[in-house]
């Protein structure tokens, strides 16, 4: 799902070279012991233990300092639970960090769960209007792009079919095409899944390449090390919520594959 966000002027450095900067960013999640979700249980817990607290906190991201320059492709790797998705959410502006500052220069969109915002009962065109309005695009602006999007997704003949009847590939193609159309300055990609067949994949690669060539930035999370080494300029390695390395792709992958690399499991968390 692509998300566009114009700069939130919290602190707008915008010196023209940096796309994203994170300073001391921390995100604390709760780790529930036994999560009471009702008023009754909260009261019972209070009576029993003298506290409403039923959780401990852990740092999904811990004091992250990161600078992402413009016009680069950055890869983010790490084991499950190392904080990759959380990091993307923070970058996208969807999750406010518990501490720290995020600076953005340019519009952001994230390509994560395709079609999260689509209504299955509506057809492709209606969904495109809905999707576009979520990014504050005017009806006229959306209308002008509809045929282009459907053309790219190769779904013109299914434009009036409710999307719940689409195959998963069709749905993903529609989601991807709608998302790409937002044309942000910074693109965040989380495990971009098997979208369509090879021909379509090639189309997507071309789009990404055009992206980079026009000086935009891509941040990619993936487990596909070979692809990352081939495409990215820099790779950031996360481990247990911390950045342990940021630099040359090959070296990053080696660090990740090193037996000393700490996952949350090996650290006994």
């Amino acid at each position: 799902m692509l998300v566009t966000k114009k700069i939130k002027s919290k602190s707008n450095k915008g010196d023209g070279t940096r796309a994203l900067t994170l300073k001391e960013v921390t995100v604390k999640y709760r780790s529930y012991k036994e999560r009471p979700t009702s008023l009754k249980e909260s009261i019972i817990r209070f009576v029993r233990h003298g506290t409403f607290r039923h959780y401990s906190t852990f740092d999904a991201l811990s004091k992250i300092n990161l600078t992402i320059p413009k016009g680069h492709i950055i890869g983010i790797i790490g084991s499950n639970g190392s904080g990759k998705s959380t990091l993307l959410k923070v970058l996208a502006g969807v999750l406010l960090p518990t501490a720290g500052v995020v600076e953005r220069s340019g519009s952001i969109a994230s390509l994560i769960e395709l079609g999260a915002g689509f209504d299955p009962e509506l057809n492709a065109i209606e969904n495109l209007y809905l999707h576009g309005s979520l990014y504050r695009k005017s009806k006229a602006a959306i209308k002008a792009r509809i045929s282009h999007i459907l053309n790219f997704a190769e779904l013109e003949e299914f434009a009036f079919t409710p999307v719940k009847y689409y195959s998963s590939g069709m749905f993903a193609r529609l989601g991807f095409s709608a998302a790409i159309d937002i044309d942000p300055d910074i693109l965040l990609v989380d495990e971009i899944l098997a979208v369509g067949d090879e021909r379509f994949k090639d189309k997507c690669d071309t789009v990404f390449r055009t992206f980079i060539e026009s000086g935009k930035t891509i941040v990619m999370v993936s487990h596909n090390m070979d692809m990352l080494v081939r495409t990215t300029d820099t790779i950031v390695v996360l481990s247990r919520g911390e950045v342990i390395f940021s630099g040359d792709p090959k070296e990053a992958v080696n660090i990740y594959r090193d037996p000393n690399y700490q996952t949350r499991l090996t650290a006994g968390e």
């Binding site: 799902m1 692509l2 998300v3 966000k5 999640y29 709760r30 979700t37 009702s38 008023l39 009754k40 909260s42 959410k89 996208a92 502006g93 969807v94 999750l95 406010l96 994230s110 994560i112 769960e113 999260a116 915002g117 209504d119 009962e121 509506l122 209606e126 209007y129 809905l130 576009g132 309005s133 979520l134 990014y135 504050r136 695009k137 005017s138 009806k139």
Partner: protein, 266 residues
């Protein structure tokens, strides 16, 4: 505290920025609501009509409340109450229901509550059509004061949004809120002059209700412009409007304070 009040203009700015989404969302709701049913959108009118017929038969026919044209009396009171009640109850689950969405796209989260509000508002206005038809059939004159209905709706909409925001926030942290609210709505239903008139209650009770339940006056105002052809006392209306705006501001404040935590809880 004064700095905190910036959330009010911010609310209107966001409302304007996302007007496209609100519009699309309401259209979407209307499209999908009765998509497969035979009668389709007609149900928006038939549903309140049906409810009113049942109540009229029970109360006018069986329990005999001595009001001429009781069915119209009921209908006028039901419409605003149902708008309030269904918006509040539907908003309760709206945050959780849209978690996938705002987990990816940064949107101001009250947009979901507003979307429900405007959908229901549209249905509210459409339901005026069967009301007028009913009045024509029963040969009850439609007073000119009925034209002021948009003004009468303003305080109702304000308090509905305020209460819906509070309930939606609460439900994120305490899922019981839904059940409590369903019971609460029933209570408010009977504490509002939908089924009865002000005169049917002891004065001391009316005095308490008028102060504690802003809907009490609002329902009366709304009903009177259709049923009795009477405009509300301007002072009373102003006070009621002011208290509704306070509830709206309160709801916005509570919502904004908690909004950033939602993603951690849904």
């Amino acid at each position: 505290m004064i700095a905190a009040v910036t959330f009010i203009p911010d609310f209107f700015v966001q409302l304007f920025l996302y007007r496209g989404y609100l519009c699309q969302s309401v259209i979407r709701d209307l499209r999908t609501k009765y998509k497969r049913s035979m009668l389709g959108y007609l149900w928006t009118m038939l549903h309140p009509l049906g409810m009113m017929v049942i109540l009229a038969v029970v109360f006018a026919g069986i329990m005999r409340i001595p009001v001429r044209d009781y069915s119209i009396f009921l209908f006028c009171g039901m419409l605003p109450f149902n708008f309030f009640s269904s918006t509040a109850l539907m908003s309760l689950g709206s945050i959780r229901a849209n978690a996938r969405l705002f987990g990816q796209v940064p949107v101001p989260k009250y947009i979901f509550v507003l979307s429900i509000t405007f959908s229901n508002l549209f249905n509210f206005i459409v339901a005026l059509v069967p009301l007028l038809i009913l009045m024509l059939i029963l040969e009850r004159p439609i007073p000119i004061t009925a034209l002021t209905f948009p003004i009468m709706m303003i305080p109702i909409v304000c308090i509905t949004i305020g209460v819906s925001l509070i309930l939606a926030t609460s439900n994120v942290f305490f899922e019981d809120t839904l059940h409590l609210s369903e019971v609460g709505m029933q209570a408010i239903y009977f504490l509002s002059p939908v089924l009865y008139r002000r005169e049917d209650l002891p004065q001391w009770l009316v005095d308490i209700l008028v102060i504690s339940n802003p809907l009490f006056n609002q329902i009366e105002f709304f009903r009177d412009i259709f049923f009795s052809g009477v405009l509300p006392d301007p002072k009373l209306f102003a006070i009621n409007l002011a208290s509704s705006l306070v509830v709206l501001a309160l709801g916005l404040w509570i919502f904004k304070r908690s909004e950033d935590k939602f993603l951690y809880f849904v």
